[in-house]
Structures are given as structure tokens and as C-alpha cells.
């Protein structure tokens, strides 16, 4: 804090002495990230990367920047479109540079600051370092960190943006990743109809069928889709039949622990109505198919989550037609149009 004050002092000195203010200087304008009262505590440590206006704006530019990929065309936003809660609409698996096709469905980018791990198998445990995975993946963005820095350093606009955003002003990987994190940390979705209902704002009430759905959801779904993030952030095997073409072992990849076979991170259900297709491989196009699967489609692949075991020794969650209909009505109340249309996160 002292250092920051000193620096502000120095900046002020410089500003007051200089007449030609053509070169940009670092003048940190701190911004606040939302902590909605119905959310758990933030996992991201802001002390290491304080959010500033210029840092956020740089992060946004980088998020929409094709230069982060080897062919100049695949920005982060290519697979993460705002209108679909930053997922890749219409793609069960995403494609990247050189016609590469990935193995998993692009996940939404929202409420990242509250997540303790990232990716379907939790292969990233720090938000700052997560972008390295898609950037360096040959089938996604196919680029190297040092090459990106070279490209950005040669761009006078980016030089200025980095100078504005960071104290050392350098176009570096550290600052690039920090800026991306600042952008993502700010992406909080917490103003759905459901949120306003639980926070008792604007006299919002849920309809009968939505309330019935919420009730069923609380009885049958919240042991995994817990808290108002709608995930307990654990890894679980939900009994999906294994697709032999992909043979995706999920979290097993990480520690090669047989107990982790076919486990994937429990996804948040915020904006779920707009972020299909569903499951780690995007095999289900609609929420109806998802609930039909839980009711009658799960198979014993050897490691299914015990919470899904039913009295008749099959796996799944028994749901009648009305329960399915009402749960879907409830899930639609998690759509947050303010977030999906928030201009702060929009490319244009």
C-alpha cells in the first residue's frame, strides 16, 4: 500500500512537471468486482492482481485478439461467444487453427473468480495460468507465449495499453495473463430472475412451475449443483456411456488415478438454457435430453458417483414428466440477460 502511494505520488509529480503527455503513464484506477450476497467467497486472490480500468480494458482487447493464435484468426472469443454465456454456440466440440477439432465442449466463462479449478478435468487450478492451455494447444490456438509477446510488442497500440495497465509497463506474458484474468474476474453473472428472487429484489417472484422446479431441484440436484454457483466444484462420474471415439477418461488424465475415471467437473448451471450443447462432449443438444438421461440413460461404467445409485441398483435421478418440465422452467430462471448483453464484455 505504501509502495502504491509512493508511486501515485511519483506519477503526480511527473504529471505536474510534464507538458507533453503523449506517452501513456500508469495511473491505476481501481475497479471493484461484484461479490453478490448469495455467492460463496471469491477464490481468486486480487492482492496479486488488483483490478484496474486499464487492466480490464486491455484484458478485453486481448480476449478478442486474433494475434493470440498462430493464424491470427482464433481469438479466445472464437469459442467463447457472449450471447451464449461465452460458449461456442452450435458446436459440441470446438475447432481451432489448422482445422483442428478439440475433445471437449467449450465451457462458459462466468463467475471465474469464484471457481477453484478450471477445465472439465480441472487441469488448471489458477485462473492466470488457464489461458496457456488453449493458447499453446496445437488444435486450439497453436501459438507460443513468446511469439505472442513479440507480436504485441510490435504493435504501438498494445505498447500504450500495457503502459497504461501495469506499473512496469512491459508487454510481457505476466502482464498479458494478468490482464486476461482481470477481464475474466469481472465477468460475474448474478442478475438472473432467480438471483433477484433469492435476494428479494425488484419484487421478483417465481411462477408456480418455476417454484415447483426449484423445489425438485433442491431435492434431487443440489448435492452436486450446490450453492448459488450451482456447482460444488468437485469431479464426478455421472454415468454417461463412454464414447469410444473419444474415450475421454476425464480427470483420470491428471493423476492417472483409477478412482478418477470418467470424472468431470460439476458444471455451474448459470445461463444453462443458452449454453448448450451439454455434457463434457456436448452430446446433448437440449435440457430435455439431459434430464431424460438422468432419469433413464445413465449406465454403470464402473465408477459412477454413489449419490446416483438408486434402490433398484441402477444409476440415475428419477424424474417424472412434470418434474422434468418444472426443473427446466426453473433452470431458465438462471438466464442472466444483463450479463449476456453487458456492453462491458462485448466486442463492439
Amino acid at each position: 500500500m505504501k509502495r502504491e502511494l509512493l508511486f501515485l505520488f511519483v506519477c503526480l509529480l511527473v504529471l505536474s512537471c510534464s507538458k507533453d503527455s503523449e506517452t501513456e503513464v500508469y495511473v491505476p484506477v481501481l475497479i471493484q468486482v461484484e461479490w453478490p450476497e448469495n455467492f460463496p467467497e471469491m477464490a481468486y486472490n486480487l492482492d496479486n492482481n488488483p483490478l484496474t480500468e486499464a487492466g480490464f480494458e486491455l484484458g478485453k482487447d486481448l480476449f478478442y485478439e486474433g494475434k493470440l493464435s498462430s493464424n491470427g484468426a482464433i481469438a479466445c472469443a472464437f469459442c467463447h461467444e457472449q450471447a451464449y454465456a461465452f460458449t461456442h454456440h452450435g458446436h459440441n466440440l470446438s475447432h481451432g487453427v489448422n482445422g483442428g477439432v478439440g475433445f471437449r465442449n467449450a465451457q462458459p466463462i462466468q463467475n471465474m473468480a469464484y471457481q477453484t479449478s478450471f477445465m472439465w478435468n480441472g487441469s488448471a487450478s489458477h485462473l492466470d495460468l488457464q489461458p496457456i492451455i488453449p493458447i499453446t494447444s496445437e488444435i486450439e490456438m497453436g501459438e507460443t507465449l513468446s511469439n505472442i509477446i513479440q507480436k504485441l510488442s510490435a504493435d504501438s497500440e498494445y505498447q500504450e495499453k500495457f503502459e497504461r495497465a501495469f506499473e512496469d509497463g512491459e508487454v510481457s506474458t505476466e502482464n498479458m495473463l494478468k490482464a486476461l484474468s482481470q477481464f475474466m474476474v469481472m465477468m460475474v453473472s448474478s442478475n438472473s430472475k432467480y438471483d433477484k428472487y433469492v435476494r428479494q429484489e425488484d419484487n421478483v417472484i417465481l411462477s408456480t412451475i418455476e417454484l415447483d422446479g426449484l423445489n425438485t431441484f433442491q431435492q434431487k440436484c443440489t448435492s452436486c449443483h450446490a450453492t448459488d454457483l450451482f456447482t460444488d466444484q468437485t469431479f464426478r462420474n455421472n454415468g454417461l456411456p463412454v464414447n469410444p471415439l473419444l474415450n475421454d477418461t476425464g480427470r483420470y488424465e491428471i493423476l492417472e488415478d483409477p478412482n478418477d475415471l470418467y470424472k468431470f467437473k460439476v458444471p455451474s448451471l448459470r445461463n444453462v438454457a443458452v449454453s448448450g450443447p451439454y455434457m463434457h462432449d456436448g452430446r446433448f443438444a437440449t435440457l430435455e435430453v439431459v434430464l431424460d438421461f438422468y432419469d433413464a440413460g445413465a449406465v454403470d461404467n464402473g465408477n459412477v458417483d454413489p449419490s446416483l445409485l438408486r434402490g433398484d441398483n441402477t444409476y440415475g435421478i428419477t424424474l417424472n414428466d412434470y418434474e422434468k418440465e418444472s426443473v427446466i422452467a426453473f433452470l431458465k430462471t438462471l438466464t442472466d440477460n444483463e450479463f449476456l448483453e453487458d456492453e462491458r464484455f462485448a466486442e463492439y
Binding site: V14, S117, S125, T173, M176, L255
Partner: protein, 267 residues
């Protein structure tokens, strides 16, 4: 403009430093304010042989291996002096990749440490890999190391984490010939911690002074990766070591036994 900014920053710092009185008592008066340079020379070998790319080396269980890549990450270098005080090299600069291809003709890879406090040092300690505290910083304070590690192939592209050691080559057994050998051991986030630290006593005191730049010759016996505190055989799956929860701690523990200080030069 930028220059001006730095000038003012410097002046501001100078003003503050000159105002503060540092009358702290220091027993070793002679050394106050003195710093020196220490060079750690890493020298990879296999048993009593020097390590050479493409050379076939025997190990236990009638197995052998030869390598085309040999790199590891060293971090958190600290020296302890004869009075028990520890000098920790500044965290932001305290991480290095020892890459055999960077070696001189004698196969020695230099890590040069500047501005080490002058003292009579009796031991050095360092870690292999990236510790949880450093990893938890995310991008903060990593500077160019992320690029360097990524360019050197010391980061995974499928997970966010560092490979602490990277051995690529082939192995042979009684029944197999020249099968792929890849040891890419590291930590994965917070779920698997394979960071280990080693402390090595110096055979004679390392004297760091303004005008003395000692060199520490550290031998690394690569044979210990497989024949260290635990024997790791290729036929049992140690030909492909990545993030396996059972295999990787064994390799990490083995690596921790491979370093020794051969000699030091005080000049």
C-alpha cells in the same frame, strides 16, 4: 517521458533512503553492504560417467536408456552461513531451467546469482520444480519465466503446470529395444505436489565478498532418477512418467538424491 518518470522515481527513492537512518547493529562489520556473485555450475553425469546425449547408460534390472532431452527446473536457491543466517535469492529471479544443451564444452550449465550478501556460507539449498506458494501467485511475479518454461517445453499444454524434469529418449530391456522413454514429472495445480528441496553442505566455506565470486560445482547423477531411494524400472511403467499420482512422487524423491557438491572455488 518514461526516462523522466524513472528519474523521479529514483529521486523519490533516494530521498526516502537518505532520510531513513539505518543504525542496525551488524556483527560482521567488514561485510556490511558488501555483495558478490556466486555461480552454481550444474554438471550432469550418470554414475561416474559424464552425461552425453545419445550415449547408452545401463541401469538396474538389466535395463538401459539414452536421452535426447535433459532439463530440470531449479528454484528457491538459498545459502546458509556459518552463523546460521540464511540468504534467500530474490523470489522473482529465483527460478532457473538447467538444460543440458546450454552446457559448455565440459557439459556444465551455469546459474549466476548476483548481489548475494557477503558472508561465509556453509551450505546451499534449492528446490527442484515450482513450489505451491510460487504456483499460487499465478502470473504475478513470473515475468518472463512463463515464456521461457513454455518455450523450453517445461509446461504442459493440456494442463496448467510445470514439468519439473524432462527426460526424453529411448530405453531397452532384455526383451525390448529402443522404446520411447519420456519422464515429464511435475505438480498439477494443488492436487499433486511433487516439489522437493535439497540442502547440500559445502566441502569448504564459500566466501562471498565484493571482490570474490566463488563457483560451486554441483554434480547431478541422472542414474538416481531411476535408481535413487526407490528403484524405478521401465518395465513397471516408469518409461512414461507424467502426472501419475503414484509414480511421480517416487521420481521426485529419487531426483532429490541426485545432487551433490563436488567442490567449490573461492577466488
Amino acid at each position: 517521458m518514461k526516462l523522466l518518470k524513472y528519474t523521479f522515481a529514483f529521486l523519490a527513492c533516494a530521498a526516502i533512503t537518505s532520510c531513513s537512518s539505518d543504525d542496525d547493529n551488524n556483527n560482521s562489520e567488514d561485510l556490511t553492504g558488501q555483495t558478490g556473485e556466486v555461480t552454481l555450475k550444474f554438471d550432469n553425469g550418470v554414475g561416474d560417467q559424464d552425461f552425453i546425449f545419445g550415449t547408452n547408460y545401463n541401469k538396474s534390472n538389466d535395463e538401459s536408456f539414452q536421452l535426447e532431452t535433459l532439463k530440470y527446473i531449479i528454484s528457491n536457491v538459498a545459502f546458509t552461513d556459518s552463523e546460521g543466517n540464511t540468504f534467500m535469492y530474490p523470489t522473482e529471479d529465483n527460478v532457473f531451467i538447467v538444460d543440458e544443451t546450454d552446457g559448455n564444452n565440459a557439459g556444465e550449465i551455469y546459474i549466476t546469482l548476483n548481489n548475494v550478501d557477503a558472508a561465509d556460507y556453509v551450505s546451499v539449498s534449492f528446490g527442484v520444480g515450482i513450489d505451491q506458494d510460487r504456483f499460487a501467485l499465478g502470473a504475478d511475479g513470473q515475468g518472463d519465466f512463463l515464456d521461457e518454461a513454455s518455450d523450453e517445453g517445461m509446461m504442459w499444454s493440456w494442463a496448467s503446470g510445470y514439468k519439473f524434469i524432462r527426460l526424453d529418449g529411448t530405453f531397452s530391456t532384455n526383451t525390448l529395444t529402443d522404446e520411447p522413454l519420456n519422464v515429464h514429472m511435475g505438480s498439477v495445480g494443488t492436487s499433486l505436489d511433487n516439489y522437493r528441496e535439497v540442502t547440500l553442505a559445502f566441502p569448504n566455506t564459500v566466501l562471498v565478498r565484493d571482490d570474490a565470486s566463488p563457483e560451486v560445482h554441483i554434480k547431478a547423477d541422472i542414474a538416481k532418477v531411476f535408481d535413487g531411494s526407490t528403484t524405478a524400472n521401465f518395465v513397471d511403467g516408469y518409461d512414461q512418467v507424467h502426472t501419475d499420482v503414484n509414480e511421480t512422487p517416487i521420481i521426485a524423491d529419487n531426483i532429490n538424491t541426485m545432487f551433490s557438491v563436488h567442490h567449490v572455488h573461492n577466488d
